[in-house]
Point group: C2
């Protein structure tokens, strides 16, 4: 049962009591996801936090002319959720499936994957009854924030070639698993230009 992997993950951040571990187990919903399957689509309300047990996902938006732009990847031991949609629902509206703002993002499996999802009401239950989870998710969000801030800094201060080199160093695993088209979309450049960048780097 993959739930153990999630509990281990939490334990590494902040050790859980048996009771807290049981609470996690009671709200964790395991799902198998096929390649190309969506766990969130534009227009949906995002109602889960998703923990990736195995596999790989991309989270992207589709622009006016149909192009995809990868906002984030997610792999083993990472979380994916559309926070803007997820957190837009106030407690009073938790029972209304149409409350909150619809998502502008897609989350799609790039590989066959196994995930554990926690529903909003269950997560709020954890927050209220076991305050430690507030702290855990605060730390998770802080770490994601730091990573995102570095990415913004790179986007505004470096060339595409520098960003690609940094990507290779920062995500050696992802750069093996992902097709270059997806990496280009993450970096904000065209696949053709990534190809010429790779050629010039290769000849150095």
């Amino acid at each position: 049962m993959s739930t153990q992997k999630l509990i281990t993950y939490f334990n590494n951040l902040l050790p859980l009591s048996d009771e807290e571990g049981d609470a996690v187990a009671s709200v964790a919903m395991e799902r198998k996801i096929k390649r190309r399957q969506f766990i969130l689509q534009e227009g949906d309300r995002c109602r889960h936090y998703t923990f990736i047990v195995s596999g790989c996902f991309k989270m992207y938006s589709v622009d006016a002319v149909g192009k995809e732009h990868n906002v984030q990847f997610g792999t083993e031991n990472e979380w994916l959720t559309d926070m803007a949609s997820f957190h837009s629902v106030k407690p009073a509206d938790f029972k209304n499936p149409n409350a909150g703002i619809p998502s502008k993002l897609f989350i799609e499996a790039i590989e066959p994957s196994v995930i554990i999802q926690i529903e909003r009401t269950d997560l709020v239950f954890l927050f209220e009854h076991y305050p430690k989870f507030n702290r855990i998710f605060r730390v998770i969000t802080e770490n994601n924030f730091i990573e995102l801030q570095n990415r913004v800094l790179q986007n505004i201060s470096t060339t595409a070639e520098q960003r690609y080199s940094a990507f290779l160093m920062q995500y050696p695993d992802l750069s093996q698993r992902l097709p270059n088209t997806q990496i280009a979309s993450f970096l904000g450049i065209t696949p053709e230009f990534l190809s010429t960048i790779r050629k010039t780097i290769g000849s150095k």
Copy 2:
């Protein structure tokens, strides 16, 4: 006393008890900051969360050739801190002023400002004794994350002109208060190019 402004800010997020309000007051340190004064410099360890009572700050990094790149602005009722440095210190090292990773960022006042700072040990004290603050700062970080994610999406998917127009709409106040050089640095373009963008927008 500006501390009341901070307590009101917290109350708007999640109502505080009198005791929690007193706890905030006991750890809040008010400071007046002059224009061009720094509250963080590259190489420093970031030891505070800073709440802006009034005024305006820029947080930026300086690259290898000395150019500044604005990562974030902060104005009234917003927080500024270098999370990467601030959160890199483990509780065991709280008393060691050289623990943790040095900051890569500067935080500098653009206007004469008043701030309230909370030290790391005091913030941890709040988190441990009044769990509500975990939740409050989780929500603050979530909201900052959402904003930053939108910015990444814009950076990878839109032109400089679109980004500038979006900036004007999203931060009408900042676009009045800031010189265009600072806005250009935030958008990741040169001031000269921003100038030509403004001309083409004006003639529409």
